[in-house]
């Protein structure tokens, strides 16, 4: 092979240099691209976090507004409706002293009883509206007091048990109200239909699962009662809060178990 022409030699050296420059450029592009992509990814993550924060902030503000509205409604109800119902009751009581006609007296007694019921119902609404009561501990206290008071004048013996890990666990207003109404209905059923001597209400918290067991030693649920409105309502209420309602088979009496999954907020 002949000695290469110096111009051709230098041409090939230039070619190799240019090629190396381009290869270097491609490598640089890949590296820069990856770095920029990483930065972009991090920026997107920050943006996403900021967006989530904003959403959370808005949700908090909304919750706060709802809470304020609840407090306002409960205050208005307490001040206006409560005072009104009490006034009706008081006036009706005065009338019983003034009117001697027995026929009227019975009607007035009915008005007094109705106003008492209204007062009680209003207290329940106020309890469920008050955000300070949004804890599992408060729910158990209120429900236990209700059950005790309700069965106080009956021959049914009440046994209340509570195995709660964290009393301050949040229990949202809807869940709290529905759970209370289910327990109330169950206790009323025991009083009305079971002929039971004792009733046991057991509150239990296992992890995030809140369980209430209502057990009595009565005659149990008859076929006629099984499809009654009370049981259907209880099941529906639990369904509304994504809870479970179950009539556990038992040798004697009735065993109702309701389960609700607690949220960690």
């Amino acid at each position: 092979m002949n000695e290469l022409d110096p111009s051709i030699k230098s041409l090939f050296i230039i070619a190799i240099v240019i090629l190396l420059v381009f290869v270097g450029f491609i490598i640089m592009v890949v590296l820069v691209y990856n770095k920029r992509q990483l930065i972009q990814h991090q920026e997107n993550q920050i943006k996403e976090a900021e967006f989530q924060n904003q959403l959370l902030q808005k949700e908090l503000e909304r919750q706060k507004a709802i809470q304020l509205e609840r407090e306002r409604i409960s205050q208005d109800m307490h001040d206006d409706l409560g005072a009104g119902i009490s006034a009706i009751k008081l006036q009706a009581e005065f009338l019983t002293y003034k009117i001697s006609n027995e026929a009227y007296k019975e009607d007035i007694e009915a008005i007094i009883a109705t106003s008492e019921d209204m007062n009680l119902a209003m207290r329940e609404i106020l309890w469920s509206l008050n955000s300070k009561n949004d804890t599992i501990g408060n729910f158990i206290d209120y429900t236990s007091t209700y059950v005790e008071r309700f069965l106080d004048k009956t021959p049914i013996q009440t046994l209340l048990l509570s195995e709660i890990i964290e009393e301050h666990t949040n229990l949202a207003v809807t869940a709290r109200r529905n759970l209370f109404l289910v327990v109330k209905e169950a206790v009323h059923n025991v009083y009305k239909h079971s002929q039971a001597k004792t009733i046991q209400v057991h509150f239990k918290q296992v992890g995030t699962e809140f369980t209430i067991q209502i057990i009595d030693d009565g005659i149990g649920i008859t076929k006629a009662n099984k499809t009654g409105n009370g049981l259907t309502n209880m099941a529906l209420r639990m369904e509304n809060i994504k809870g479970k309602f179950e009539i556990v088979p038992s040798v004697k009496g009735t065993y109702i178990e309701i389960k609700y999954r607690l949220t960690t907020t």
Partner: protein, 196 residues
């Protein structure tokens, strides 16, 4: 042997360009159909070898179309460069004829390839997105064209001079260039299998 490998790869590329969705969308089957017809047809003398001389007239419009469709922001510039290069090639052929391979047209085609590739790579730095660069078809096509074009320029410029003065060295260069072409088509093949 090298020629067989080369033919095998371009046929494989043709098959891949038909099968792969992104490659099909970018009309790569047209490009490889042209490559196969020109290379294999000319090799087996089914078609006149002169057709090879006019190849810049097909390849420049194809890659103009390809790169113009990659980034809509550079579309006007790419079409402008492509049009100028295409018209220039026609001028070169008008003056030189198609009997011999035009070094000017070949060099111009290589320069166009380099410009397109660099523009695409730069656009990627300026407009980074969430897709990995190595998973983009245009990355492999650009890299392949860049390497091939540099070799092509420096192989074609001294081609006639070496043909007269040092044929043995020209054969060696051509051998090296064939290896580079195979390597470039392997990069193409990698690109044809990309999903982006």
């Amino acid at each position: 042997m090298l020629t067989k490998i080369y033919f095998f790869i371009i046929l494989f590329c043709l098959g891949a360009s038909f099968i792969r969705k992104v490659s099909r969308q970018n009309l790569f089957y047209i490009y490889f159909l042209l490559v196969v017809i020109i290379e294999i047809g000319a090799f087996f003398r089914i078609i006149p070898r002169d057709i090879y001389n006019s190849s810049p007239l097909y390849y420049i419009p194809f890659f103009t179309f390809y790169f113009a469709n990659q980034k809509k922001t550079n579309q006007k510039n790419i079409y402008l460069i492509g049009s100028i290069a295409f018209i220039s090639c026609i001028f070169f052929y008008a003056f030189e004829g198609l009997e011999e391979y035009s070094i000017y047209a070949g060099t111009l085609m290589s320069i166009v390839y380099i410009v397109y590739s660099l523009l695409w790579l730069l656009s990627q730095i300026l407009n980074t997105d969430e897709n990995p660069l190595l998973k983009k078809q245009a990355f492999w096509i650009s890299t392949s064209l860049l390497i091939w074009a540099v070799f092509f320029i420096f192989r074609s410029i001294p081609m006639y001079s070496l043909n007269n003065n040092d044929l043995e060295f020209l054969i060696q260069i051509n051998f090296g260039f064939q290896i580079i072409t195979i390597f470039s088509y392997l990069l193409f093949l990698r690109g044809l299998f990309c999903k982006i």
